[in-house]
Symmetry: C2
Subunit: 182 residues, 2 copies
Amino acid sequence: MLGIDPGLTRCGVGVVDVARDRSATLVHVGAVRSGSELPIGERLAVIAAGLRSVLAAHRPDVVAVERVFAQQNRATVMGTAQASGVALLLAAEHGLPAATHTPSEVKAAITGYGSADKLQVQTMVARVLRLDALPQPADAADALAIALCHAWRRGSATPGASGALTPAQRAWADAERAAARR
Amino acid sequence: MLGIDPGLTRCGVGVVDVARDRSATLVHVGAVRSGSELPIGERLAVIAAGLRSVLAAHRPDVVAVERVFAQQNRATVMGTAQASGVALLLAAEHGLPAATHTPSEVKAAITGYGSADKLQVQTMVARVLRLDALPQPADAADALAIALCHAWRRGSATPGASGALTPAQRAWADAERAAARR
C-alpha cells in the first residue's frame, strides 16, 4: 500500500505492508522534493520521477492519495492539486487502483477522531508501525497515515469485520492502557 | 505552438503556426474527452494519452496552458487543476518550455479587452486564423486563443515591437473597418 501526501515543495510518500489481521509494517517512508526556482512543469516532472522510482522499488498494489480541496490554503492549493493529478496519473499508468481520502477521513481512521492534531496522528502512526520515534518529516507521516487509512477502510468493508473496534481504536486503547500502567 | 485549455471532461487542444510577422495558421484543433464514470486516475490517463498523441503528431516547440484559480467554479476546479498538472508534466517530459496565462491575459491578448465574452474571443480567433466558421467546441477555441496569446506575448517582448498595435488590436481594427465597409 502506497500512501501519497501530494505537494510541490514536498510530496510525502509512505509504503506499508498490511497483513490479513490488519497489522502493519513500515516498508518505506520519505518525501520527494522539488525546488521552487524551477518552472512548474519541471517541478511536476521531478515529483513524477520520484514517485516512479518508489513505484518501481516497492511495487505497491494499491495507491491512496490525500484529497485536495479548493477551500484549503489558497496560495499552494493549485500546486498541491497538480501534484495529486500527477500521482493519480502515475497510479493509473502503472495499472494500480487509486483511492483518495479526505484529511478528516485519514485522521478518523488513524486516531478515531476526525479533528485530531498532527502530533496525535504521528504518535498513532508510530505506534501502529512499532517505530521507536515519530516518523519524519511530518508529511511523510501523513503519507503513512493515508496508506494505513486506506488499508483499514478497505479491510473494514469485508464481512464479519463490523462491530469490533477499528485497529486504530484498538491500538489507541492499548496505548492508553500501557500509559496507565506506568 | 500548442495551447491547452485544461479540463477533465473536455480538455481543449489547439495547435497554431505563428510566423515571424505574427500571422498565424491553424494546424490542429480538438478536445480530449474523458468519461465521468471512470476513476479520476484513469480519466487523467485518458487525457495524458490524448495530449501525448497531439504532441507526437504536431511536435510543437512551446506549450501554453490556461492557469487555474481556486476561486473559480468550486465543483470542477480540482479536476481542472489536476488536468493542468498533467499537461504541464507532459510538456516538461517532452523537453518543451511551458507557460501559463490567466483567462483575462488571454482575452486581452486576443480581443484587446480582458473581460471579453466567449463569442468575442471565438470571433477574433476565427478571424486571425482566417477560418470560415467559429472554432468548435468552445473550449477548443479557448485552446487556440491561449496558443495565440502566448505566441504574441512572447513576440511582443522582442525589441522593436513596442509602440505598434498588438496583432489582436490590428486584426480587430481591420475587422471593424471591414464591417464598416459592408
